[in-house]
């Protein structure tokens, strides 16, 4: 089946578990297609956070693709901007822009480069790609809601490698001090960064305990369990009076047997056979 011919957009804010699972498969297939055709890296990183995006965009976020600038919308920042294909595909299937627009990905002159920014397309809240910015931007946004007495929430998805950046921990120290209960930091904890295991490069573990010690209400979950993700991301603001940290245990390359936990797929680009096999595994 040609993934490009599938023109399903689902503009519904709450879809059921089976529909979310189907959407996750579709987005994973689109991620692989985008990288295969444009010859761009970071497939493994995009596949590991796909379920987080599906649960956020089809369950948790109070957003309206026809009114992307609503001042009281929930904000979502993909701080691990190198997983841009996951965000682009999600926004397209969620109805922020036509699916055809994805065909321009990484083409000269297009507004869809390999890292996202608000200049790219509707629905993108912030420019990311340089790691360690999203959480601090989110702290500012969450504080803005507090000042204006609005009830929007702010969701930030970071990579575990991103937690190497000192600015992440500056933001992690400030958010609880300001009692930003509308802020959610999600770590896509796939245990790998660009050149090695994230717990060997830096001493991340015990990651959940670190966030707890910094004053966050920290939840460690299966980052591919769409039901749990939906519940956790929807249950915000948290009753504890703290910002929420979600340590989402994930698998880099999730969904494709020969990509899972193989860090070569941080940079590797699939050949034609790998592309076809990957789509077949996803049911396309």
């Amino acid at each position: 089946m040609d993934i490009t011919k599938i023109q399903i957009q689902n503009n519904q804010s709450k879809i059921n578990l089976a529909e979310m699972e189907q959407m996750a498969r579709l987005i994973r297939a689109k991620i692989i297609e985008l990288s295969y055709k444009a010859k761009t890296p970071h497939i493994g990183s995009s596949l590991s956070c796909t379920d987080i995006l599906v649960a956020a965009y089809w369950q948790a976020l109070e957003i309206d693709p026809t009114n992307p600038d609503n001042p009281n919308r929930d904000r979502f920042i993909l701080s691990k901007g190198h997983a841009a294909t996951a965000l682009y595909a999600t926004l397209a299937y969620r109805g922020f822009f036509p699916l055809d627009f994805l065909e321009t990905y990484d083409k000269p002159g297009s507004t869809l480069p390999e890292h996202p920014s608000p200049h790219c397309a509707p629905g993108i809240e912030a420019a990311t790609g340089s790691l360690g910015h999203g959480l601090s931007l989110g702290v500012g946004m969450a504080l803005g809601a507090k000042i204006k007495d609005l009830d929007y929430r702010v969701y930030i998805v970071m990579s575990d490698g991103e937690c190497n950046e000192g600015s992440v921990w500056e933001a992690a120290l400030l958010a609880p001090a300001q009692k930003l209960v509308n802020l959610v930091a999600i770590v896509d904890y796939n245990k790998w960064q660009a050149t090695g295991p994230s717990n060997q490069v830096m001493s991340l573990s015990p990651l959940a305990q670190k966030w707890t010690a910094f004053g966050w209400n920290t939840l460690e979950i299966d980052g591919h369990d769409l039901g749990t993700l939906s519940q956790v991301l929807s249950d915000v603001p948290d009753k504890s009076g703290k910002p929420v940290a979600v340590i989402a245990n994930t698998i880099k390359g999730k969904g494709i047997s020969f990509m899972e936990n193989d860090n070569n797929w941080h940079y590797k680009i699939p050949n034609e056979n790998e592309y076809k096999n990957a789509l077949e595994e996803l049911g396309f």
């Binding site: 912030a126 702290v139 600015s167």
Partner: protein, 311 residues
């Protein structure tokens, strides 16, 4: 200058509910009035400037006029990455205010000096760089910056700088302010040395040299119309700044004039040399060391003017 800033931001915040001040753990007493009047619009962000700068951008993305404030090197070079990506790339109306430009905090040693940041900030796309020359220019620059649609950096001194402009005037970002006219030499002053430059012009007058003075408060965008006028009128143009001669205001003017074909006037740049200031001492000691006192500015200018006049 910092008192002018705190008074003015407090005054402006009454009419602008979008103004939010972020402090990098300094100036608590300075902002007492602001905090009393607007308790939910002042945040001490701690000693964490990178986070503070991105927070300012996050607030601006939600419609606020964020004003992050701390000591110059910490609000600029310390978090240059956040200024570049979060503030400038998004082209957000964040007004970055640094206190202690140049050698204002000379006695605290080079960690607290800043003679590089103008060079680094002015190359960032979308960034506007303003170095006010007196407390009145601080007030007027702040008003203009808070109306401006894009990032602005305002470089303050410390406290007690003399007031040069007794009355308010029409302050326009990117437009220099003539202070006195002359015929032989034109001083283009950028920032903290304005009183010294006016005094230098007086010294030169006594020696028979007629020197004009312009407060050239905006480094970017450059007032090109005024530069054309000045380079058409004076045989010698002198840029003055309490900043490195490398890449700062003088560098900007030198870049500009290099690309012009029609001028025969000469340019002299006066600023600090490519060196840290390693000694103990106050701002005046650092200025003495780097040749930024009125007398030394006058001497350098006279020597250069004499040299080009002989040719």
């Amino acid at each position: 200058m910092r008192n002018a800033f705190s008074n003015e931001i407090t005054r402006l915040a009454k009419d602008n509910p979008e103004i939010v001040v972020l402090s990098g753990d300094i100036g608590n007493k300075l902002f007492d009035q602001f905090k009393t009047q607007f308790p939910n619009r002042f945040y001490n962000c701690g000693v964490a400037e990178a986070n503070m700068m991105s927070m300012a951008a996050g607030l601006a993305l939600c419609g606020f006029r964020a004003v992050p404030y701390t000591i110059v090197p910490f609000i600029t070079t310390r978090c240059l990455e956040q200024i570049r990506v979060d503030v400038c790339y998004h082209n957000l109306p964040v007004v970055i205010v640094g206190v202690g430009g140049g050698f204002s905090y000379a006695s605290l040693n080079a960690t607290h000096h800043s003679c590089e940041e103008v060079a680094l900030l002015r190359v960032l796309p979308n960034m506007t760089v303003i170095c006010p020359g007196d407390p009145m220019e601080v007030r007027l620059a702040l008003r203009a910056a808070l109306q401006y649609k894009g990032p602005v950096y305002i470089r303050l001194g410390k406290k007690g700088e003399p007031v040069i402009h007794k009355e308010e005037f029409s302050f326009v970002i990117g437009k220099g302010v003539p202070i006195r006219s002359g015929q032989d030499v034109c001083f283009l002053n950028c920032g903290l040395l304005l009183p010294n430059v006016i005094q230098a012009a007086e010294i030169l007058k006594e020696k028979g040299i007629s020197a004009g003075v312009i407060s050239f408060h905006t480094v970017k965008p450059l007032d090109e119309d005024l530069l054309k006028e000045v380079f058409s009128t004076y045989p010698l143009v002198v840029t003055i700044e309490e900043h490195s001669k490398l890449g700062g205001f003088g560098g900007a003017v030198a870049e500009w004039v290099t690309d012009q074909t029609q001028f025969s006037s000469r340019l002299l740049r006066i600023g600090s040399s490519d060196s840290f200031f390693y000694s103990a001492g106050e701002q005046e000691d650092a200025r003495e060391y780097f040749g930024l006192t009125s007398e030394k500015i006058a001497d350098k200018t006279l020597n250069f003017f004499t040299g080009i006049s002989k040719k």
